[in-house]
Subunit: 255 residues, 4 copies
């Protein structure tokens, strides 16, 4: 059971709504994922219009919404977006994203901390997307963020846990949940993150652009469960030499 | 469905009987793994004695046996062991292992090919443990092996797919099933192998020496399913830059 | 030729004074390294005392000094240390280090940017040690830092370029010199950094604690030259298949 | 000093003659590399013709020739090629290459061992190209090969030491020189191999197809020297935590 800000979640797999080829495919994939917390960009919502395609499927699924501030380049823009989203979606949960660079979408540490501080004071439940920076994660935690969301690799790159050595330090030091937020491109990578002891992973692109998004969502669901179970079961140590699993002597004695 | 030599298996996770702290723990773990094909060393069997501890649990589980020639250092020794095991266990299935080196237990390519040729002619269903050597795998296939079992890393090292780049070539070229046989130390690594398109994995040490072997066996079961499903669903390509999963413009226009 | 703040350096290998077993060994090793810019902690200097052991060898070598603020946990402490060092060493060059965490010595992005801004205004030539965070490097550059010094791995860990994927982005975007500052534990790693196009590397621990620090310093000197030359010569692309360097047909035609 | 079959070589960098855009460029690059042992395919020689372009530059350089059997698919073909090359080039040194697969050019373990045994008996100095297979390397050594030449990655792929974990075992066990033969695509990779304790590396493609082959040859020369020197100087251990190179207390006491 994953608990963020007193909300209990059965699934440690968070998902998103981007890049699906249709709203119905999105609905089927999110359903297969078992995800209970789904992020969406404000822009995805056609506020106040009937044609909106994203929100009804999410409401049908009964998932919790985690609006994000994707597109914000400064703390000021992110705070503005947060206010809009709270009003539009009637939730004070927020995935805080600030990325001035449009090529790699990497987060801005300084602006993110600044915005987090303001938004926590205003009563938001803030989950900040950030670099795999252990010191920054400490500071985000200190200003009251409900979780930290360090990246594995650039958003949408599907390159996995490029930052694994730094994620390990974050996990070791964190007192709030750690959710790996970007770069996970295959179920094995999600499992690896869970085996390291992170509390959850957010996967969007790798599901949405898979050949079969519904099957891939199911694969991620299993992989996250596998990784968590392995973490709890206690992974064995690695060895630089071989250790026989079968005995090496005996039957040949009779030769 | 994995088919080896006309035998159909629902589970793509092969397991072994080594290193468990008790026979009952072994039974529970193998049951949780869902494995239908289990390797065991001849030495594990106390041939002709009632006190034998390994065989009854396997018979209870109803799994297929895959006796191995662990401990053999030459083709001759392996062939001798094969004959013994066929007699003792009433199966002509055989995991062929020849490793003259006792420190790293790495297989001997030349002796393995030589023994495989003989044993196939004698009617054995031969699954050879071998290095991740694409040319050797071709030759083992050509002499009639029912599958090839290249290693990921030294036996019992839990170091994962150190040979991944060569495994990829083996998968690309093989016309018999490819089972990754040694080195897999975590469910994420099993999932990664399956995502690459291997047909199955054999895991023993990582389950047997886990803190909780039964839970770990379950984790591997899920991970193998996840990896296979992801392979079939079509994994997305990786990218060296970021690709936004959320749109990057729009909501800020009103500022 | 590496140019930082109008100072031209023939050597792209920066070094440090920590961890050597004696001052004379330090002098020999730094001499063998060919380094022209050497960092030292304020504490290493026994200010105002004749017995000081570190400074005279450096003066003998004729290297430029790059005092650092190692030990500072906040911007305020770093600024205080900077003032002390300017007074003591008569240089306005500064390696800015702020690391509140004593276990991993990872830098604090927010405090580092804050201190950099103040110190640049005060006329310091600021080279900040920072995480491999492309957005932060942009901001440090914007406030006037003379170079950026992202880490490869935690200080003294000798683990190499764990952050290589992010270093690549920093190199692509930077308009000031990029010096990889921590974690480089072997000449091959220094060469790899240079091949990626970084402008220099700083190596201290790997030289100081080597079996033979003087020989190791010479090895790093060669490796940095090799990596730079390879970068300039244009490295070939990698291929997922083989490309023969020898022709594959011909001589056998006569068989 | 590298000694193979009683021949002493000052350079641990072996090179080849393939893929250069002209014979004069080849000559300049090989000269810059400092290499004293150069491999060439039989086909490169226009036997008995005056127009031959490859041999005169090599004779001018005064390097030792190491003819190879590239293109051979079986032991029989390789032995035939060996006889031809001995006659044509007046040397009994031989780089034995047998690769039935034309896509990845990976060596055939069984045929290579078979040919090596014959050729050693016939008085050749045999240096076999082989997979990074520690058991095979033992056997090649036992039949009298003068060195072993395991691959890092497929020929011409420039992908580096994909086989590094197995190369380490080979180095640990070998009593003849170990030369990494294929896949090295950058000076840093050559340095890494040397740091692991291999006795030499063979580089051809990465030099020949570089933007500036002469400069790249010089870069490899330096990198091989750097890696060897670091191996001899004793590389420091790695650490999972940070170890300060500068002291962390002291100057702040006065605050």
């Amino acid at each position: 059971m994953l608990t963020i800000a007193n909300r209990q979640l059965n699934s440690r797999l968070l998902t998103g709504t981007g890049k699906f080829s249709s709203a119905s495919l999105m609905q089927s994939a999110l359903s297969a994922s078992g995800s209970e917390l789904v992020t969406l960009a404000l822009k995805r919502l056609d506020l106040g219009q009937r044609q909106d395609e994203i929100l009804p499927p999410l409401q049908t699924l009964g998932v919790h919404l985690l609006p994000n501030t994707s597109g914000a380049r400064t703390a000021e823009e992110a705070i503005f977006a947060a206010h809009l989203s709270r009003q539009a979606l009637d939730t004070h949960w927020l995935k805080l994203e600030i990325h001035p660079d449009q090529r790699y979408l990497l987060p801005d540490a300084v602006e993110t901390l600044k915005a987090a501080e303001v938004l926590v004071r205003e009563g938001f439940v803030v989950l900040p997307y950030c670099g795999a920076d252990p010191v920054l994660c400490q500071r985000l935690q200190e200003v009251g963020c409900a979780a930290v969301m360090p990246l594995g690799a650039p958003i949408g790159s599907n390159r996995g846990l490029l930052s694994r050595d730094f994620l390990r330090i974050i996990v070791e030091q964190a007192r709030v949940p750690v959710i790996v937020d970007a770069g996970i491109g295959a179920p094995s990578q999600a499992a690896e993150a869970m085996e390291m002891g992170v509390d959850g992973v957010l996967v969007n692109t790798a599901i949405a652009v898979a050949g079969d998004p519904v099957a891939m969502a199911g694969a991620f669901k299993l992989a996250v469960q596998a990784g968590r179970r392995a973490f709890e079961a206690g992974l064995p140590a690695t060895s630089s030499r071989a250790l026989p699993s079968s005995p090496l002597t005996g039957f040949l004695e009779g030769i």
